[in-house]
């Protein structure tokens, strides 16, 4: 994967780097990636603190015409830097986002209240966490207490719902279960943990690997029993498909990647196979479809857009050139606040120019950012599909 010698210094990656656009302290993917790589000596302590400014949106990987993966080079440099230097509190907290969120959910009524008060915000700031958009509200009822329906369906799905759905928006998760059930698919919720991406993003390879191994073991059992793994968060998906076999070197990764699908990719597959013929009814909405960077990086095209095209009455426009700027926990760190706000504001202003009524994005963190900065409703594509098919979280 690390083939920095292939770089011809054309700078196409630099043009695609959202952080480079707005933060002069970041030298861009070419310098932080292939250029600096030749100076990174195995035995020397890493000095390139600016690698931490990379948000791992992967846009440079996608843009490179020469097969260099600058983001991967930088990701490795970030892990090395993380290992060799004392970590800030924010980095530590976000690497362990899973436990933090689990705690937040357990104490949701109190935690949400505290988070929205002035003192709560001060505590956040003291920990190096920003509050320019409201911290997402913890949900008391997570996905774990979902009861499984008995089913004899041919198609079987192990649903990897991810932390965002689990701790903040289990209502969307429940809708997705109902949606798949309505397609005559047997849905189970395998035992699962954080995918590991937040830990990687905060330079903590060990924690990321710990989570990944646990997930891989759990998912692997379901795959052996004939289940397909379906994810809904595109960043979880990218981590499962790209980082498990890549930087995390998970031994069961091949099995996982061969059997894991994006939710909408999976639904399109059901339609193509003739397994279902969904009768979409009219949805009168004008939507700006913000493509999460990590969906782009997955290389599966934009499957939700294909479904949107089947829904009568729905108008949508695709935005895939703008990064929302939040990048999971990246933008929540005080050090990255300015970058995140500038990028988010730019993305929102382009969306507002189109006169769209709602924003749609596959990724919870994009929705949080764009919804928070625009004041518009930011929806998951699954919510629109459910609306069109008359599916609610209840039944």
């Amino acid at each position: 994967m690390i083939n920095f010698e292939h770089c011809i210094r054309c700078t196409i990656c630099v043009e695609n780097c959202p952080v480079f656009r707005v933060n002069a302290d970041f030298p861009g993917p070419k310098q932080a990636g292939p250029d600096a790589q030749r100076f990174r000596m195995e035995k020397e302590k890493s000095v390139d603190k600016w690698v931490l400014l990379c948000s791992q949106c992967k846009r440079c990987n996608m843009a490179c015409p020469c097969g260099v993966y600058p983001a991967e080079i930088i990701l490795q440099a970030q892990q090395r830097y993380g290992l060799q230097h004392p970590r800030t509190l924010a980095h530590l907290l976000f690497a362990n986002n899973y436990y933090l969120s689990a705690l937040g959910s357990l104490t949701a009524p109190v935690a949400n209240k505290v988070a929205s008060t002035k003192i709560g915000k001060k505590i956040f700031h003291a920990m190096g966490i920003t509050t320019y958009i409201p911290f997402p509200k913890f949900s008391f009822k997570t996905m774990k207490n979902e009861k499984k329906k008995k089913s004899k369906a041919v198609k079987k799905v192990a649903f990897f719902y991810g932390c965002f759905i689990n701790f903040y928006r289990p209502d969307i998760g429940r809708k997705i279960i109902r949606l798949l059930e309505s397609f005559n698919v047997d849905v189970v919720l395998p035992e699962q943990w954080c995918c590991g991406l937040p830990a990687l993003g905060n330079g903590n390879l060990a924690i990321a690997r710990y989570f990944a191994q646990k997930n891989a073991a759990s998912l692997s059992n379901y795959i052996d029993a004939g289940y397909d793994v379906v994810y809904t968060c595109t960043s979880c998906g990218l981590c499962l498909l790209h980082d498990y076999p890549g930087i995390l070197e998970i031994s069961l990764a091949k099995k996982i990647t061969e059997n894991t699908y994006d939710l909408h990719e999976y639904i399109i597959g059901l339609i193509d196979d003739g397994y279902i013929e969904p009768q979409f009814t009219k949805v009168k909405r004008k939507i700006a479809y913000h493509i999460p960077c990590h969906l782009r990086a997955l290389g599966i095209g934009y499957p939700a857009a294909k479904i949107m095209a089947m829904i009568p009455g729905l108008e949508y426009e695709i935005f895939d050139d703008t990064c929302c700027g939040l990048n999971g926990s990246y933008g929540f760190k005080k050090t990255n606040e300015e970058t995140a706000v500038q990028l988010g504001t730019r993305a929102v202003s382009l969306i507002k120019k189109t006169g769209a009524e709602n924003i749609m994005a596959d990724c919870g963190s994009c929705r949080m950012q764009l919804g928070g900065l625009s004041g518009m409703d930011a929806l998951d594509p699954a919510e629109i599909i459910c609306e069109s098919l008359g599916i609610t979280e209840g039944k």
């Binding site: 043009e15 480079f20 015409p65």
Partner: protein
């Protein structure tokens, strides 16, 4: 492989691929475009060279050697492809100036003239001779643009420097998109009290709204304003790419990014599908027709080995300009490098010659005998062959 997913799959997101794609989508075909990375169009000046061998580019085409792919398309097709391109760029808010009847100049960052044909409206006011007096604006810390190169060549030119707290073309272009920045900059510019007739900028006047930003500066200063193309990161190149890509998608085309082709499924004389590696489950896309628009060496369509040249997707036969010794002229600036002729030789319908496939069509920089630098036909040749290939595809599918 059951269901046919697409009518046409285009490999490569450059000028040729996107041009062919837009035409096919507009005609109602189901088109997907797959790309490994972004095209070399991003690195270009954004100007459309048709043919620089004569002041009249269409006349220049007749000076080209017989093997040049321009001879596979009629003058009418070249003209139509240019008209179509201009129309679509107007729709995308990035209009072009010029006509295929006469070439024009843009001022280069070295102060020399470069011959081209169509230029973005932001370069329309570039001087066409030595007469115009210029005032150049540059930005402190910008490493990729030195106005002294220009003032050393032109007597009637001077420059001023603005501190925009950004030192890259990308950072500056982002700043110019912000109204508060533009306003502050304009009031600084007004105070300079510029006496010269034209104001020149490195090409950093915005990304999405360059045409309106340039116009705004002209209106406020009441004098002509133009951009000078820079080395990459080149904003006009990116604007061109963005406009072509957004147009394609607006018309209903689908783009798959991060989709390097690793394999091909075929039966007899038909390519059935292309596959991409992906970490696990191989992903494949099938179609009735495949258009190869993967560019030449830098774009990734061709790879030069020690003594041969290969085409990377379908392993098509490649015209190799003799032994390696003939690939490069000893004089770097001579433009007589044999390597410029390398590529795929096609028949009159743009199918690769001496290949087994009947549903593959080839266009753009990967074609043989283009000699783009020598003949000054970059982008123009891509537009014309992309346009022609779309027609061939429609003929084949029908």
């Amino acid at each position: 492989m059951g269901l046919i997913q697409h009518d046409v799959i285009i490999i490569g997101a450059g000028v040729a691929g996107l041009t062919a794609g837009s035409i096919l989508v507009e005609k109602g075909y189901n088109v997907a475009l797959i790309a490994k990375g972004e095209p070399t169009a991003c690195l270009s000046t954004g100007c459309i060279d048709i043919c620089s061998l004569d002041h009249d580019p269409l006349h220049g085409v007749s000076h080209l050697p017989d093997e040049h792919p321009y001879h596979l398309v009629s003058r009418a097709v070249i003209r139509e492809s240019i008209e179509k391109f201009k129309e679509s760029m107007v729709q995308m808010g990035f209009p072009y100036t010029g006509s295929p009847e006469s070439n024009r100049y843009v001022l280069s960052a070295l102060g020399t003239f470069k011959t081209t044909c169509l230029v973005p409206s932001t370069m329309a006011a570039a001087p066409q001779d030595e007469k115009d007096d210029l005032h150049i604006i540059t930005f402190s810390g910008l490493k990729d643009f030195y106005p002294s190169y220009i003032t050393a060549r032109r007597k009637n030119a001077s420059f001023s420097t603005y501190d925009a707290s950004a030192s890259t073309t990308m950072g500056l272009a982002t700043n110019f998109e912000r109204e508060d920045f533009l306003e502050k900059f304009l009031s600084w510019l007004e105070k300079l009290n510029i006496q010269e007739g034209k104001i020149a900028f490195p090409a950093v006047l915005g990304l999405e709204s360059a045409a309106t930003i340039t116009q705004k500066i002209e209106e406020r200063l009441r004098c002509k304003v133009f951009e000078i193309p820079t080395i990459p990161p080149s904003m006009p190149g990116r604007r061109l790419f963005n406009a072509l890509k957004d147009y394609f998608r607006k018309k209903g085309g689908m783009i798959y990014w991060s989709w390097p082709v690793s394999g091909v499924e075929k039966t007899k004389k038909i390519i059935e599908a292309v596959t991409t590696p992906s970490e696990g489950r191989p992903k494949s896309l099938n179609a009735k027709v495949f258009i190869l628009a993967s560019g030449s060496f830098v774009g990734g369509g061709l790879t030069a080995r020690r003594d041969t040249i290969v085409e990377n997707i379908f392993n098509l036969p490649v015209f190799v300009p003799g032994q390696r010794d003939n690939w490069f002229d000893s004089d770097y600036f001579s433009l007589n490098h044999g390597i410029g002729k390398a590529g795929i030789i096609v028949d009159s319908s743009f199918r690769p010659k001496e290949a087994d496939w009947e549903n593959v069509f080839v266009c753009g920089g990967i074609l043989a005998h283009t000699d783009v630098l020598k003949n000054g036909c970059g982008h123009g040749m891509a537009l014309a062959t992309g346009y022609a290939v779309a027609a061939s595809c429609m003929g084949y599918i029908k």
